[in-house]
Symmetry: D2
Subunit: 318 residues, 4 copies
């Protein structure tokens, strides 16, 4: 038995591009309940109340929606070195840079599908001030009592044309494990990766358009399924487009709600209930076509836009 | 920075002693919603519906309540070897044996406070049959729809007279990290250990009686805080003694309910909400006397029995 | 201002016909968590744990599914007399009979769409025994901790070809008020009646088939939206067909789950949250076509079977 | 059988006195999530998002905390006449006045314990504007997504030295029914009145101080027990004193949280689950001393301040 590589600690942050920076920022602060850590140039940095780093979301003004980059935090300086050594050999490495607001030196690379990725260890932990200090010292900052009250970044879902390449690249160079996958006609159509005890931190599903580097959704976690229902009420009351949900995914069992933020990117508000993957030799769950035809856990048929829409939109590539 | 040892995957199972084996078994099956995997000699083996191993609870008939032993599962055969090598040097090792129902060869040792512990890697994964197969292939067995519907083992809380010795022994030989601790008059009064992304797997609090090897409580997780409230209704309706709760702990933020099973051992039904410790260089949260005086998160004063009662009871030692 | 007639206390019970009496009975007891009060002839009488009468559901063996009859309980003997006097004048009265198990003399009538209805005052209140007594004396019997744990009968939904006739008959002879209605092309397509502070006790929606006397669904209430989600898990795990939900209705805001019981009748498990109609001169909410096109509250498009399927099925009339 | 009088529709509003009008107003708007309808003189008028009248809470600046008055809305103009006729005969009537912001002519009277009460029918229904219109036309105004998000006024709890007098006065002149009562040593110590299908609208518990006209608490309802837990988190994070809870009352089964608003009055945030009293000849539940000694539903012992503290405080009478 080959030992699993556990050098990556967690998904650290995601940079989303938005053609409506102000409206997107208002959405994440007023509707999602997140806070602004900093603003610099064309970017705004945000975090949820229990995110421990400087930011988990960077919004950057751009002519269209999509992914700027995303980043992993390594488990230690040595773990970072090990991962960089592996990445350098792949031909997908882009090299070190000095970091950004909130974190130190960073190794940049790209996925086989052209998504920009970074990995680093040195970070700036968020220090709450008088105004946002929590009454409980094991909470990073005060529960906001505003909008959806999202707690922490949960996972990222990308689209990719070459799922097999992405999968192998991820497992060999970043480590962690493949917890679930969709296989149809002997070809993987979706892959779910975990680097810790969560059941997934990164998901990649097939991009039927043949485009590269596209973004499907970014997810923040709330504390209960009831809060996902409240989030749906809040979206409804504030004119935020609900694409699908609330419902329970068959894959990963996440209780979900999908909305579009004003810039056009899909955002998920989710609750994982008490599910964790603690089994060290967990075997990948494989879903076939027939099983996927049953829809989501309780039978909801997935809306077609969920299978096709990613950002940037196809017209943005023209 | 010293790299944290991540060789232990999770708390595997706990053996509880009970003077009322039948009544205890009925409690765990009918009230908690667990299932019997096997019965052998004076012992009954049980699991919650999403526990992936053969059992997470072994009930053994005995003249008094208390802890038989508890076990960790290692992350890999090599990780197991590394831990055994470390344990052998401590003088607390007791040696290998062939295992028990549901798992393979096991290394036995004791804590500095005389609790019996085991660690192993080889395990027998639970295979649901026609009657208890879940409709979702990523659930180990069917949601029972019976009583409290506990999902999985969560953590164990022991009492110990020598907290410092226990803490150092645990971190040096088993690894993981100390996520929270109570320090009063410069002395640790309670320690919370995590070996994965959960915020704790094992807690040890001071035994004021000076006795050794005692048990405080065993915890099973449910999917929501609402299910903890339902568990309280079920305990109430079935004459199960509720010691305290439902309420939210300040330490670790767990939403909890404490009951006594018929054999006299304290059992917790809990929900962790969306809290996880993903920060690889998480700094231990330290609680002082003044902070503990505030009671639980929302101000509930902890009942005195919670600070004093452990099993075996003092009279059981005579 | 005309004073509203408040002579009817609540929906009392519903008799459902089933071609699979045993399987239907098992569904209501094991899956829904209800209890059997009595069995007599081809009928089984059931109640939810906090239903205060002898039964709220009567299952009767029949060659096809559908409605046997349903019954209202009057607020007092005098209120009953007043309603009977009014009903006798309509031509839809069928006369008094001695009642059934669990209640006394009853006046029978039919709706303008041929549904069999009864109204009575004298009733037999359920007396829990040692085995099912609740620990709380303000609960009729013990919380079951079994399956969906439905608490009480909530409402009945019928199909009718002549909505206007039904609506006017109901308000003039039974009283209460019309809390919500769908009007398309100036014609009512659905009507929701309340006889107390609940937002509805009886709903009638248009039967597009032109058939008469059909049943759409019967609803039992649970204590929270989370319990509706748990009910969905239980349905999924037990092979119970989920037609739609869980989701939130725009009309009446009920959080709902629709399943088919083994006999073929549609059953709803629902939670009303904290919504009540306490305003004594509440004005009927009118929904138009455009508003209905938006789907349910959070955008779920209603499945087509929900608009067409009723019991008996059209082929049962042949 | 005597027919119950159903002439009162619901508890309409409560006027609370506060020595800290600004801080109290901020509490009800920012923490409770209510909205200001109007401000006039030394008073601020507020409502929860689904309250249908102009206001359900009037805050009035005063040198100490306590009750200004409270009001019932009658079911119809004729019902109002009937109640006034009865009240006029009691000697407790104070006569008609023109009303206040938000409602029309009003009959004022006092309870046998000197609480100021009013009853009226004509009211001004709240009309949401563009900014606070709900997406669901059956909700009075938009779900706020701010703080505790209370939905509607639920009930009022007063203290009284003469419980028997209060009880008889209420039932004879206002009508409704006594749903629960505490009787110790053959004397009533607490009475719970309902005028609709809710299990209570007004509660009166014994004032051991011998003072008159005191206030115990005012309650607003939220949609779920989970939202009561969220309310506790919000109170904790904002330095609002939590007196007791969240827990479940044995009496009435309400899931509760008690806090003190900055002016010193006790406020309850509560959820009634699916419980309603629909039985027209419901028999009053009687609790004795032994039963009360068991504490709240799940065993929480009631904090002593709950039994003694009312506003005005005893020193305010000096």
């Amino acid at each position: 038995m080959k030992e699993v590589i556990w050098d990556i600690a967690h998904l650290a942050h995601v940079e989303l591009l938005t053609p409506k920076l102000d409206a997107s920022t208002r959405f994440f602060t007023e509707i999602m309940g997140m806070s602004i850590s900093a603003a610099q140039g064309d970017s705004v940095y945000l975090r949820a109340y229990d995110d421990y780093e400087h930011h988990t979301l960077k919004l950057t003004a751009h002519k269209h929606a999509g992914l700027g980059h995303f980043a992993w935090r390594a488990r230690s300086p040595k773990a970072l070195e090990r991962r960089v050594k592996a990445l350098e050999k792949t031909g997908f490495g882009k090299g070190w840079h000095d970091g950004d607001l909130g974190h130190g030196k960073t190794y940049a690379f790209q996925t086989p599908d052209n998504h920009a990725v970074e990995v680093y260890f040195e970070t700036e932990k968020y220090q709450a001030g008088l105004a946002d200090q929590s009454a409980l010292k094991n909470t990073i900052s005060k529960f906001p009592g505003r909008g959806m009250n999202v707690r922490r970044i949960d996972h990222l879902n990308l689209l990719a044309s070459k799922i097999v390449d992405f999968r192998d690249f991820q497992l060999e160079n970043l480590g962690g494990r493949l917890t679930e996958t969709i296989i149809m006609d002997e070809k993987p159509k979706g892959v779910w990766f975990s680097v810790n005890s969560k059941s997934y931190d990164l998901a990649v599903t097939e991009d039927h358009t043949g485009l590269h580097g596209r973004f499907h959704h970014l997810t923040y976690a709330v504390n209960s399924r009831e809060e996902v229902l409240l989030a749906a009420d809040i979206a409804l009351e504030n004119g935020i487009f609900i694409e699908t949900g609330p419902h329970k995914h068959a894959i990963q069992q996440t209780f979900f709600l999908y909305v579009y933020e004003p810039g056009g990117n899909r955002i998920e508000i989710a609750n994982p209930t008490a599910r964790l993957i603690l089994d060290p030799d967990y075997e990948t769950i494989v879903w076939n076509r027939e099983e996927r035809m049953k829809g989501q856990a309780w039978g909801l048929q997935t809306v077609s836009s969920f299978h096709t829409r990613g950002t940037p939109l196809p017209e943005d590539f023209e």
